[in-house]
C-alpha cells in the first residue's frame, strides 16, 4: 500500500528536480560559471596529456622569461614554464576543496539530522560543542593543528572540514526542526516508523535542497581556505605547482616578473568566483 502511494510522489520529485535544473541552466551567470568549473576539473584530471612542458622541468638558461610564443605565460625563477605549472597547479585545490566539502557535509548533515530529529539532551550538548568550535577563529585553529600534527593533505582536509561541519550541522538542524512539524512526518509516525527510517526516508529527501545549497556555499569557502593556507605555506610544499604556494613564492619577483604570480592569482579568482556564483544561483532556486 505504501509503495503504491509513494510511487507518484517519487515521479513528482524527479520532475521537480528536472524543472529546477532547466530553470538554472537558463541563467547565464550559472551556466558560464558551471562551464568554467567543469573546465578546471577537466584540466586538473587531464593536464598531463597536453602540457607544453613538464611543470617541474627547470631551465637555468631562461629564468624570468617574458610571455612569448615558446612560453605562453613566461617562465619563473627557475626557468619553469608558467603555463604548464598553471594547469598542473589546479590538481591540489580541485582535489582538496571537494574532499573538505564532502567530509564537512557528511559529518555535519548526520549531526544536524540526528540532533534536529531526536532533540533532548544530546541536542543541547552537541550544540554547545558546536558553539565552542565556532568561537575559535578557523585560521588560528588550522595553523595550530597543522603545526602540531604536521603538514599533510589529510590534516589539512580534516582541520578545515572540522571547522565547517558545525556550521553545516546548524543549518541542517534548523531545516529538520521545520520539517518535523509537517503532516507527512505525523503520518509516518502513525504508521509507527522507526527513527532511522524517519530520518533517512521521510526527512532527508526534504532537507536535501538545504544540504545541496549549503554544500555549494561550503565549497566556495573550501577553495578560499585551501588557497589561503597554501599561500601561508601550510598546504602543499615545494616544488608543487599549487596556485597559492606559487603566488607566495612569486611575490619577491613582482617588480620584474609579475606574470609568475598573476597567472595563479587569476586562476584562483576564476574558480572561486564561479563556485560562489553557482552557489548563489542554487540558493535562489532552491531556498526561496
Amino acid at each position: 500500500m505504501t509503495a503504491i502511494a509513494a510511487a507518484p510522489a517519487r515521479v513528482g520529485a524527479v520532475a521537480t528536480w528536472r524543472r529546477r535544473l532547466r530553470s538554472l541552466l537558463g541563467r547565464p551567470a550559472f551556466t558560464v560559471s558551471l562551464v568554467l568549473i567543469v573546465a578546471w576539473v577537466v584540466v586538473a584530471i587531464s593536464w598531463r596529456l597536453y602540457v607544453p612542458y613538464s611543470p617541474d622541468a627547470t631551465n637555468a638558461m631562461a629564468p624570468f622569461g617574458e610571455p612569448s610564443g615558446a612560453h605562453l605565460l613566461g617562465t619563473d625563477w627557475l626557468g619553469r614554464d608558467v603555463f604548464s605549472r598553471l594547469l598542473a597547479g589546479s590538481t591540489s585545490v580541485i582535489i582538496l576543496a571537494p574532499a573538505i566539502t564532502v567530509v564537512a557535509l557528511v559529518v555535519g548533515s548526520l549531526t544536524g539530522l540526528a540532533t534536529g530529529y531526536y532533540g533532548g539532551l544530546v541536542d543541547v550538548g552537541v550544540m554547545r560543542l558546536v558553539d565552542a568550535v565556532n568561537t575559535m577563529p578557523g585560521i588560528v585553529l588550522s595553523v595550530l593543528a597543522l603545526t602540531v600534527l604536521g603538514r599533510s593533505d589529510l590534516v589539512l582536509v580534516l582541520v578545515i572540514a572540522g571547522g565547517f561541519a558545525p556550521l553545516v550541522a546548524r543549518t541542517v538542524r534548523a531545516s529538520v526542526l521545520a520539517e518535523r512539524e509537517r503532516d507527512y512526518v505525523d503520518a509516518a509516525r502513525l504508521r509507527q516508523e522507526k527513527g532511522p527510517y524517519m530520518i533517512g526516508v521521510e526527512i532527508l529527501p526534504n532537507v536535501l535542497p538545504t544540504i545541496l545549497v549549503e554544500g555549494a556555499i561550503r565549497l566556495g569557502y573550501a577553495v578560499f581556505a585551501v588557497a589561503t593556507l597554501s599561500f601561508l605555506g601550510l598546504g602543499p610544499q615545494q616544488p608543487s605547482p599549487d596556485w597559492g604556494l606559487t603566488v607566495s613564492l612569486g611575490v619577491q619577483y613582482v617588480q620584474n616578473a609579475p606574470w609568475i604570480l598573476l597567472a595563479p592569482s587569476v586562476a584562483i579568482a576564476s574558480l572561486v568566483i564561479s563556485v560562489n556564483l553557482v552557489a548563489d544561483e542554487l540558493r535562489r532556486e532552491f531556498l526561496r
Binding site: 575559535m136 589561503t228 603566488v247 609579475p258 556564483l277 548563489d280
Partner: protein, 317 residues
C-alpha cells in the same frame, strides 16, 4: 534582551575554558615531547630536557595546565624559547600594529559599503542593484592575497602610485604610516565590502516593505526625510551587528595581508611562530585571539540592543 546579554557575558568564561583546554591539548599534549618539537631533531637530549624543565613540561598534566592557564590570566606569559624575548610585550606590540591596519580597512570600507548597499536596496531589481550585488558577491569570495597581488602589480609596480611595502621608514609620522597602509588595506576592504553591503541591502529592502514606512510615505513626509529618519535607522541595525562579527574574519584576512606585505602584525607572528614551532607563543596568540573574537561578538550583540529603538523603548518604560 538585558537578560540575554547577561547570559552571553556569563558564557564567555565557560567558552574560554573550553578553548583553553583545546589549545592546551593541541599545543602541549599532542606533540608528546614539547621540548623536542620546539628545538627540532638536531638538539641534544640534555638541551631538550633543560627546556622541558624550564617551561615546566616535566610536571604532571593537570599541574601543567594550571601553570599555563594561571600564568596567562595573571599576564605572566613567560619567555619565547625561540625568540628569547618575553611573549606578552611582543604579542601586544604586534596586536597594536594589526589594529592600526584593521582600523584603516574599516575606515575605508564602512562608508562605501553601507552607501552602496543602501543604494542597491532602495533600487531593488534595477541594473544598479544587479551590478552592486554582483560585484559584492564576486569580491566576497576572493582570497585576500589574490586581490592584493593584482593591486600590487597594477598600483604598486605598473603605475607606482602607492608604496608596495606596508611599513613606513622608521621615525615617520602617523600620516606617512597610514599612506603605507592603504594598499594592504584594500584587499581587506574587498572582502568586507561583500558582507557589509549585502546586509545593508537586505536590511533596506526589508524595512522598505514595512507598514510604518508606508504610513510615513502616505503622510506626505518628503522622500529624503523618510530615508534618513525612518528607513535608515531601522535598515542599518543588522549591518552594525554584521560589522561587529567581521572581526573573526578579519583575523584571517590580516594574517594573509601581513604575511604578503611583510608587516609586523599579530598574524605574521602567528605564522612565524608556527614555522619556528614556537608552541608557547602560538598558544598565547590563540587564547588572545579567542578573547578578542568573543568580546567582539558580544559587543556586536549589545550594539544591536542599544541601537534598536524598540528595545530601547521597552527599557525606558
Amino acid at each position: 534582551m538585558r537578560q540575554y546579554l547577561a547570559q552571553r557575558i556569563a558564557l564567555i568564561p565557560v567558552t574560554l575554558f573550553v578553548v583553553s583546554l583545546l589549545t592546551f591539548i593541541l599545543a602541549q599534549l599532542v606533540p608528546g615531547d614539547v621540548g623536542r618539537t620546539i628545538l627540532g631533531p638536531y638538539a641534544t637530549n640534555s638541551q631538550v630536557h633543560a627546556l622541558d624543565q624550564r617551561l615546566g613540561y616535566n610536571l604532571p598534566v593537570l599541574q601543567r595546565y594550571w601553570h599555563w592557564a594561571t600564568g596567562f590570566v595573571s599576564g605572566n606569559w613567560g619567555v619565547s624559547p625561540v625568540l628569547q624575548v618575553p611573549i606578552r610585550p611582543l604579542v601586544m606590540s604586534r596586536l597594536g600594529n594589526s589594529l592600526l591596519l584593521a582600523a584603516t580597512a574599516f575606515v575605508i570600507v564602512v562608508p562605501i559599503s553601507v552607501t552602496l548597499g543602501v543604494v542597491a536596496g532602495v533600487r531593488e531589481g534595477s541594473r544598479t542593484d544587479r551590478a552592486i550585488s554582483l560585484v559584492g558577491l564576486a569580491l566576497l569570495g576572493l582570497p585576500e592575497f589574490v586581490g592584493a597581488t593584482v593591486l600590487i602589480v597594477v598600483f604598486g609596480v605598473t603605475l607606482a602610485w602607492l608604496p608596495v611595502t606596508a611599513q613606513a621608514p622608521p621615525g615617520s609620522g602617523l600620516l606617512t604610516r597610514l599612506h603605507y597602509l592603504v594598499l594592504p588595506a584594500i584587499p581587506l576592504v574587498f572582502v568586507l565590502f561583500g558582507y557589509i553591503s549585502r546586509t545593508a541591502r537586505s536590511g533596506t529592502i526589508e524595512t522598505s516593505n514595512a507598514q510604518f514606512l508606508r504610513t510615513a510615505r502616505l503622510k506626505g513626509i518628503p522622500r529624503r526625510a523618510v530615508l534618513t529618519h525612518h528607513l535608515l535607522p531601522n535598515a542599518l541595525l543588522p549591518t552594525v551587528t554584521v560589522i561587529g562579527f567581521q572581526v573573526g574574519y578579519l583575523i584571517a584576512g590580516l594574517t594573509v595581508i601581513e604575511e604578503l606585505f611583510n608587516y609586523p602584525g599579530l598574524g605574521q607572528l602567528l605564522i612565524s611562530s608556527a614555522t619556528d614551532h614556537d608552541l608557547p607563543t602560538l598558544a598565547d596568540i590563540t587564547m588572545l585571539v579567542a578573547i578578542i573574537f568573543l568580546v567582539a561578538n558580544v559587543l556586536a550583540d549589545a550594539s544591536y540592543a542599544l541601537l534598536n529603538p524598540r528595545i530601547r523603548a521597552r527599557r525606558a518604560r
